[in-house]
């Protein structure tokens, strides 16, 4: 096992500070935009159209810092009422939201309102159920959003399936996710850190296969998706284990 325990990209630096006796590790994340480094494990604040749901932006500094400086953004939120052209004109997320000392992590789904719709996903794109209806997002379209929004880090487009799909459908989801990973990387803008998406449902083998494929690509981190879609709490540790066993030193996963 090689022991690379730090990674650099233009917007992000990550290093592991300490390991537990098991697999847990404490790390530190440096983002250019954030004045102080962020300790990991770290929880991202959920947002709606970029702003936290529960607190207005001028009151954000009253939350503990720097732990509350990482915000999760769903690019799909902006499809309602704001064009990518306008967002580019404004200058991306930081300019648009007036939050210059916060780091944005873009992931398509938000686990509340924008949910993967596996039955409608096809070889062309990932389908999501959203407040503005069902949307099919192609990798090229997704990358256009990422290029306009300019988040510090972003997950590649994935085909997330619920735990009860057939083995065949599950395998297809891994194949598609890897294909879209390559398409997204090819279109990635400068400046953002790419987090390769890892899926595989409830199959240990598929999870492992996906992780190994993603690890071969030049990415800055890994986004472990497909959770919270019907698997039991008991299944999760083993599935996560299957992913992390492949020498992945920097991961973020989402329920």
């Amino acid at each position: 096992m090689s022991s690379s325990n730090s990674i650099h990209s233009s917007a992000m630096k990550f290093a592991v500070k300490a390991w537990s006796n098991g697999r847990a590790r404490a790390g530190v994340l440096h983002l250019d935009c954030c004045p102080t480094p962020i300790d990991t494990p770290s929880l991202l604040l959920s947002t709606r159209k970029g702003l936290p749901l529960f607190i207005s932006p001028d009151l954000l500094p009253s939350l503990p810092s720097p732990d509350s400086h990482l915000l999760h953004v769903s690019p799909l939120h902006f499809l309602e009422g704001l064009s990518m052209t306008t967002i580019s004109k404004i200058g991306g997320l930081h300019q648009m939201l007036g939050l210059h000392e916060y780091g944005f992590a873009a992931v398509p789904r938000d686990s509340i309102q924008c949910l993967p719709e596996a039955n409608s996903t096809n070889k062309v794109g990932a389908s999501f159920e959203t407040p503005c209806g069902r949307l099919l997002i192609k990798p090229a379209e997704y990358m256009e959003m990422i290029s306009s929004l300019r988040p510090e880090l972003w997950a590649t487009l994935a085909d997330e399936v619920p735990a009860w799909v057939s083995d065949k459908r599950n395998k297809t989801s891994v194949d598609r996710t890897i294909k879209w990973l390559d398409e997204c990387i090819a279109l990635s803008p400068t400046g953002g850190a790419v987090f390769g998406a890892i899926v595989g449902g409830s199959s240990l083998e598929e999870r492992q296969r996906c992780a190994q494929e993603v690890a071969r690509r030049n990415v800055s981190g890994y986004w472990v998706g497909g959770f919270g879609l019907g698997e039991t709490m008991d299944e999760r540790p083993a599935l996560l284990n299957a992913v992390t066993v492949s020498n992945l030193t920097h991961i973020f996963w989402q329920k």
């Binding site: 702003l51 001028d58 009151l59 009422g81 648009m96 007036g98």
Partner: protein, 398 residues
């Protein structure tokens, strides 16, 4: 009396003053946001302080229902309950009952209505209203008056005016905390100058700490509205604050200030924000409008508030009526706008440039010079020359 009112500057009838209340020293003219149920919708008390809010209004009716005035009293009063360190005013509860409840019946005893909680008949008397307000603990409390909308005509208006005078004595008798809370009387009388005059004189005889002009802001025509305000401000004592209830629009506030009023309240700025409308010097900006979707300017380039400093019209457009944050941000801007208007009124009078301020204000709102006639008439009575902002009459162009 638990207040001091010190006039710092004047222009004709307009005055700027220091109003010293138990919890805060305020500068008038001022606008008071309405915090119906112990909160201004969409803003924290920190934010209210930051934007320069001096007094907020609590609604006795709503608070008496939930969480009850007894609980508020037990917890140390409304200031402590909602963590607001500055000044507070509560109304009597009368207006809500009449405007919200269809089956309200007003008798000499008080206002009988159906409880919205269980439908049982309830009676709000002057004594009960004052007791509730004593428990809530605001710096200024309002007498229970017999409110009649100005669009109504006939003997009911006269009956209401005289009853208001009888009720003020019951309010004064019931008031247990005159050294901590200021009881304001409310001038009624509809649009009838004779009735208004009788009411003013009756209230002034009681030597109250301050006076409100009630019964307006209910749909009457603007010409009648300003004349009632003008009459009342002329007759009320110089050395006590004058509060025009339920006003409102920035233009109305400027006119009433020119006529000598000091305090205002209205739900309009926050309510219109929740519908996606921003207050700007030109009037209104409707953020829901499709044209806003790619407008990358701030709501008001001249505004220094957090919203205008950080957000584009396009982004706010994407939020309004769909996401709660849209209402919050617009409410913040609109209240900031009203606080800035209050500050501008106060400082322009103190600094001897009130007429210039008024002309500037009108010019921005009516760039074509089409200032409504009622405004011109009111300004004439106020002794403010706004001819520079009015478009010339067609006949003068020959």
């Amino acid at each position: 009396m638990a207040l001091r009112f010190e006039v710092l500057g004047r222009f004709n009838r307009a005055r700027a003053a220091h109003l010293t209340l138990p919890h805060f020293v305020c500068e008038t003219p001022l606008f008071m946001p309405v915090g119906t149920q112990g909160t201004i919708k969409g803003l924290t008390t920190n934010q209210l302080e930051e934007i320069g809010c001096q007094i907020i209004l609590g609604n006795t009716y709503h608070l008496a229902l939930r969480p009850t005035s007894e609980l508020i009293d037990e917890l140390g009063g409304l200031h402590k309950f909602m963590n607001w360190p500055r000044a507070m005013l509560t109304d009597s509860g009368g207006f809500q009952m009449v405007s919200l409840l269809h089956l309200a019946d007003i008798t000499e005893k008080g206002v009988t209505f159906q409880s919205p909680v269980d439908g049982k008949p309830m009676l709000l008397t002057p004594e009960e209203s004052i007791q509730i307000q004593n428990r809530i603990g605001a710096d200024i409390i309002m007498a229970l008056d017999d409110v009649v909308r100005t669009i109504i005509t006939g003997p009911r208006i006269e009956e209401a005016m005289y009853r208001t005078l009888r009720w003020i004595d019951r309010c004064i008798a019931a008031h247990k905390r005159p050294h901590e809370q200021n009881l304001f009387g409310i001038v009624q009388g509809g649009l009838d100058p004779v009735l208004r005059d009788i009411c003013v004189r009756g209230l002034v005889d009681r030597n109250l700490p301050g006076y409100a002009i009630g019964g307006l802001a209910g749909g009457e025509d603007k010409d009648s509205f300003w004349r009632v305000v003008a009459q009342c401000t002329a007759a009320l004592p110089e050395d006590k604050p004058r509060y025009v209830m339920g006003v409102g629009y920035p233009l109305d506030i400027v006119v009433c200030s020119a006529l000598g009023a000091d305090m205002y309240d209205c739900v309009y700025p926050t309510r219109t924000a929740r519908f996606g409308t921003a207050l700007v010097p030109e009037g209104l900006l409707k953020l829901k409008n499709r044209a806003m979707s790619d407008d990358t300017r701030p709501i008001d380039p001249a505004c220094a508030c957090m919203v205008c400093k950080n957000y584009t019209r396009a982004y706010i457009h994407s939020l309004v009526t769909k996401d709660a944050m849209g209402s919050q941000l617009l409410s913040y801007h609109n209240l900031y706008y009203m606080m800035q208007l209050s500050r501008n009124l106060h400082s322009s009078i103190v600094q001897g440039r009130f007429p210039e301020f008024v002309c500037n204000f009108l010019q921005k709102m009516f760039p074509k010079g089409d200032i409504p006639e009622w405004v011109c008439n009111a300004m004439e009575v106020a002794g403010i020359d706004i001819s520079s902002c009015c478009a010339p009459f067609p006949s003068a162009q020959d």
